[in-house]
Each structure stands twice: as structure tokens, then as C-alpha cells.
Amino acid sequence: MESLKAEGVKDVFGIPGGANLPTYDALYDADFRHVQVRHEQGGGHAAEGYAKASGRVGVAFATSGPGATNLVTAIADAMMDSTPTVFITGQVRTELIGTDGFQEADILGATMPFVKHSFAVTDPRQIPEYVHEAFHVASTGRPGPVLLDIPQDLSRADIDYLPRTEPVELPGYKPSTEGNIKQIRIAAKALASARRPIFYTGGGVVNANASEELRELAGSDRFPVTSTLMGLGAFPASSDRFLGMLGMHGTVAANWAMDRADLIVAIGARFDDRITGKLDEFAPHAKVIHIDIDPAEISKNVGAHIPIVGDVKQVLPKLTREYRALQTDSGRLEEWWSTLEGWKDAHPLYYEAGKDGEIKPQFMIEALHRASQGDAIVTSDVGQHQMWTAQYYGFDKPRRWINSGGLGTMGFGLPSAIGAKVACPSEEVVCVAGDGSLIMNVQELATCVTEQVPVKVFLMNNGYMGMVRQWQELFWDRRYSSVDMGSSPDWVKLAEAFGAKGMRCESSADLEEQMVAALEHDGPVLMDVRVAREENCYPMIPPGNAARDMVEAPRGAVSG
């Protein structure tokens, strides 16, 4: 506990059980907040939401065996999205390890493929040291999850805590942060030669708190910017330099810009398959400057012509300085901008307006933007509603958009909203949920009520696992297999049963007004928003296709 306090921990999420009883006994007297969640997966995602909203390390506790295995999805999720988190699991007593003891599971082995690092405590005196090392590894370099597994008898031992005076030193762990200045100079000169450059920015910019530095660099000339799903908000969506999100459900302008660019500057992004589409045909004319803190990301999927390994917060100002010093004529970018503007005008995000009060999902997100003044922290589950939120909410600030990008974990939205609200109690925290996803961690409504975490859940209810249905419609000949969610549950009654406020909205006419009422309510709210059932999420790069083959929403046709 002392070690955690020394790391500045103010809040943790978890559930007690046999093997971590000693830890929970110590919590009884500790002066930080423990949020008692209802399922360990919820605790894990809450820790992630906490970390993503605040930038501080998120912490979750679980007991041994099933408690620990329930954390596995959250740990894998934190790995994929580089979320700084520390997971502390109880383990059976030392003498029982390896005997298939009650509630024994090899959680270290189970999570090895998707932790940044993990520690098995074998001596109680290791605990303070390992806690500090865990926080150091989780929060520095490319952030990620660290697991600390402590057998029950060892967490019980009384040891003296000696405050740490030296910084953590791990001989095999030394992230490079500065960026090679020669490479940065070459990059600046390549930018000066580029006639069709584009900045492709990712979650690394958010993690590094480098929004300001990105804006400076983009402002050093007329550079267009596109962002991945994870990077949204790092560059303001309302800026006229912003082309929108790229990738499978990105904008036409952003994807075509990548396709035609002569120079891509990848900043804290990893050329995921949802970005590149068909790899062989990705950005065929472009040279690549790749700036990333993780050297293994460089040339992993797409070869980098100018690799720069470093913390983007340190590298970007140097690149800005070097580029400015070249005093390049921005006139060379005029032709590129007229092309880009042409694409933006001809291919904006588009949806057919709902008729007779029908709520289109895109309209719902626009209404939420207005109702929350575009300034809420928004979490989401995974699916169509996630893509629509990314497309239509228009994030202007970093750490406002919290979702499961890499792993694509349904059920992420509600618990991560709880974490975000605990981290940032004075901010409005809303969760845009899908009906397929919400049910997967709906038990956390109880956490919202009993722990008084007033998050507002706006359920985009189309009665389907919508994204799977869309794929079945488009690529599987409309053979809808196991995607219809039926009419269960009654979400309003469910919310009320948990002690939260339940609301329902079925008409676009009063949606915004009701949303304002939900946001003004001083406790947790679940609003069941009935949206058009078979709306598809466009534009879309069909799987296995290249960016230039984007498909747009059919115009004039009646959807569904």
C-alpha cells in the first residue's frame, strides 16, 4: 500500500477474494479510493478508462484463479492500445503453487503474450521494488499493461517500507526518447521537397501528450492531417487542415490523400490493417517518415524510408525547428490543397436524413455533440456506433475519446466510462453504447449507482449486432446469422432495477432535449435511443481492398 501511495495512486478498481484478502485488509485503512466493481473485466476496463482519460497509470486488483482470468481481456486490450496500467492479482499460497490448488491459475503464463512485462513475487521484500518497477515500465516508453502476481502468504508478510530514493533502473529496459537529430534533419528536408505530404497521426500522440507539438508542426506549413481512430482529438477535428479519420471507415479525402501522397509522416501510429487495407496497394506513391517510440513498429508492416525512434513530444519540436529553418515556399502545396479541397467538397460524410422522426444513428451522435457542447469525454463499445461516434462527434481535444481500438472489445464502454469519471470527476463523461456490447458488462451499472459515479450511457439501440449484420448484408448475401438481439432486455426497467435513471427516446424531434435532461440529471442515466435498424456505416473500404476503392453511402436510395 505504501508503495502504491508513493507512486501517486489515488484510485484503484477491483474485487476482493481469498487470495488477495491481505491486500484488501490493508485497503481498509489506506487513504485512497477503491472502486468496487462487479466483474473483474469491468475493473480492468475501468483502469484503462482511468488511464486514457487522465494519462495516469490505471490500477486494478483481482484475486487468484477466476478473478485473475477475468482480467485477461482487459490486459490484452491495454496491450493493443498501449494503455499504462498495472494489474495486481492474488495468487494461491506459495506451497500450493503447481498443485492445482483451489482458485489456482497460472495468470503469469496466461498473460505472457500480451503484457508489456510481468512480475511473480517470490519473496515479500520484492513487493515494493516490483511495484515501483511495474509503474515505471507501464508508464514510460511505449506504455502498456504490467502484471504483478502476489501469492497470498507473501502479501500477508509484514515488511518495512523504505521510501525509494533512487530512480528505477532496469538493465534491459531503456527506451530511446530523443530521436536522432540527423534523421530529423533529413526528415525536415524531405518535407521541404514533398509536394503531396500528409501527416498520419495515431494514439501515440495522445499517449505522449503531444497535441500542442503536433499543432505547431502542422502549422509550420500548410500540412494536411489525418488521424487514426486512436489518435482522434490530438489534432482538432474542426481545423480546416484536418481531413478526418482514415482507414476502413475513414473519410474519402483522408484515404485518397494517403493513396496519392508522395510523403507520409506517420507519428505515433502503427500501420494497422484497418488503416492500410490491402497492404500491397497501400500508398503506392509515398515515401514514409515514421516517428515512433517503439523501434519494433518501424518497418513492421510498411517500410520506413526515414525512421525516427523517439518520444513524439521530444521529436516533433525538433522537426518543427528544423523545418522552419529551411524557409520553404508553401506555394508548392497549393495544387495538393486544391485536390484535397475538391475531395472534401465532393465526398463529405453523408447519410440520408431520417423520415417521420426516425432517429438515424449519425443524427444521434450529432445531437449528442450539440447536447454536450462537443466537450464531453466520450467512451464507446465496439461496432457501428463506435465508428459513427468517431466520424460524427468531432473531437477537438485529446483524451476525450476513449475506445477499444486494437482489440475491439465489446463491453468496453460502460466500465471505461466509470474509470474516466473517477479520474476526471468534474468532466462530463458519456458512454455511447451498442446494444450488442452494453449487455456484456451491464453489471457495472450497479457500480455506477453504489459508488456514485454519474456516467451517462446513450444506448444506440438497433436491436442488432449492427456491424456484424452490416458485414452479413454486404459480404454474406444478407444471411443474417445470430445478429438479431430481439427485444430483450427492457433497458429502461433494467436501469431502474439497478437504481439508475432509465430513459427512452424514439423520435428525432425531442432527442437533443432529452439528452440535455439526461446530462443534467445528477446520477447515472441509461437512455435507450431507438435508432434506424438497418443503417450501414459508410464510407467503407471493403476488407482486402485498397483505399482508392472506398465505397460511399448510396445516395437517394432508401436504406434498410
Binding site: 503469469l108 540527423k182 513492421k300 517500410g303
Partner: protein, 181 residues
């Protein structure tokens, strides 16, 4: 202007550094001697789809450090990506991609060969040619210890196989950098 940075960088002059080397690589990896380290290394290879050809683990002159020597095919895997992924493991201290001309590499193998009276002399002769040692003799078999490069061991295998190879055990290669005067 700084040395090493050209005045103008033309995009058409930029290239991606080569990825596949096309040859066998020996990686000599120093790791912290802690529980689970081998599982982390082996797990990383299987998860990323890298194939290990041989693997040898042993202590070093420092008891807190172990050495993992592994060989893999650079025609199939980008070695650069393999070493970068390995470096991400916190317990991995140092990785050396051994340069073939600068390296002495050795492997040991034990061959149990069926040795009837009529072919015994020939097998003993093979062993002498290969500077191998006969370490066990029974009525129907002989066990021979061979040390050398992987190529040499494979050559020996080809020689004795027609006589009836009962069993073969190989250690996997270990390697050390050549000394410099």
C-alpha cells in the same frame, strides 16, 4: 551545414533498408537469469510466427545472466524485426547477431548407430575422419560424439545413416565472437 546531412533530400532518392538477409543467423542473447525468461523468449517466437531452428540455453560467467543462442533463417524472417521484438522483453539485456566471418560456432551431437561386426570398422573410420569420439559400445550399437559446425554434423549424419541410425541427439549451435589481436 552539418556533416552527413545533404543540402536537399529528394524523395526519389529515399529507400527502405533491406529486410530479408537470405542467410542463416545466429543470435546470441543475454538475458536476466529469472524464472520464466525462456518462456517469454520462446512465446514471442511462436506468437509472432518466427521459426527457431535451434536453441541452446546455458549459464554465463555472471550467475545473474544466462545466454540463449538461437539460429533462424533470415530468408524467411526479417532479422531486424526479430531482434527489435526481442529487445522489447524487459529481461533481455543484449542481443548479438553473430557475423559469420567473425564467429566460431559449434554444436555437439550424439549418434547411436547400429554396428554389426561387418560394418564396425567402417563406422570407426568415419569417426576418425570426422574427429569424432566413440563414447559407448554395445553388442549391437555404438554411440559417437561429434562436435563441429552444423554442416559437419549433417555430413556425418549422411555418412552413418545407411548403416542404421538408431537415434540422434543434437544440442543446437552455440557461438562466440572471434578474438581480435
Amino acid at each position: 551545414m552539418e556533416a552527413g546531412t545533404p543540402q536537399v533530400v529528394k524523395l526519389e532518392d529515399l529507400h527502405v533498408a533491406g529486410q530479408l538477409s537470405g542467410r542463416k543467423h545466429i543470435l546470441s542473447i543475454l538475458v536476466e537469469n529469472k524464472p520464466g525468461v525462456l518462456a517469454r523468449v520462446a512465446g514471442l517466437f511462436s506468437r509472432r510466427g518466427f521459426n527457431i531452428d535451434t536453441l541452446a540455453v546455458g549459464p554465463t560467467d555472471d550467475p545473474s545472466v544466462s545466454r540463449i543462442t538461437l539460429t533462424l533463417d533470415g530468408a524467411v524472417h526479417p532479422i531486424d524485426q526479430v531482434t527489435k521484438q526481442l529487445h522489447k522483453l524487459v529481461n533481455v539485456l543484449k542481443i548479438r547477431d553473430m557475423e559469420p566471418e567473425e564467429t566460431v560456432a559449434r554444436e555437439m551431437a550424439l549418434f547411436k548407430v547400429s554396428s554389426a561386426v561387418e560394418n564396425r570398422a567402417e563406422i570407426i573410420q568415419f569417426a576418425e575422419i570426422f574427429r569424432a569420439k566413440i563414447v559407448d559400445v554395445a553388442r549391437r550399437t555404438m554411440t559417437i560424439e561429434v562436435t563441429g559446425s552444423a554442416d559437419k554434423i549433417e555430413a556425418f549424419e549422411r555418412m552413418v545413416r545407411p548403416h542404421g541410425l538408431v537415434e540422434m541427439v543434437r544440442t543446437g549451435e552455440i557461438a562466440i565472437g572471434r578474438g581480435h589481436d
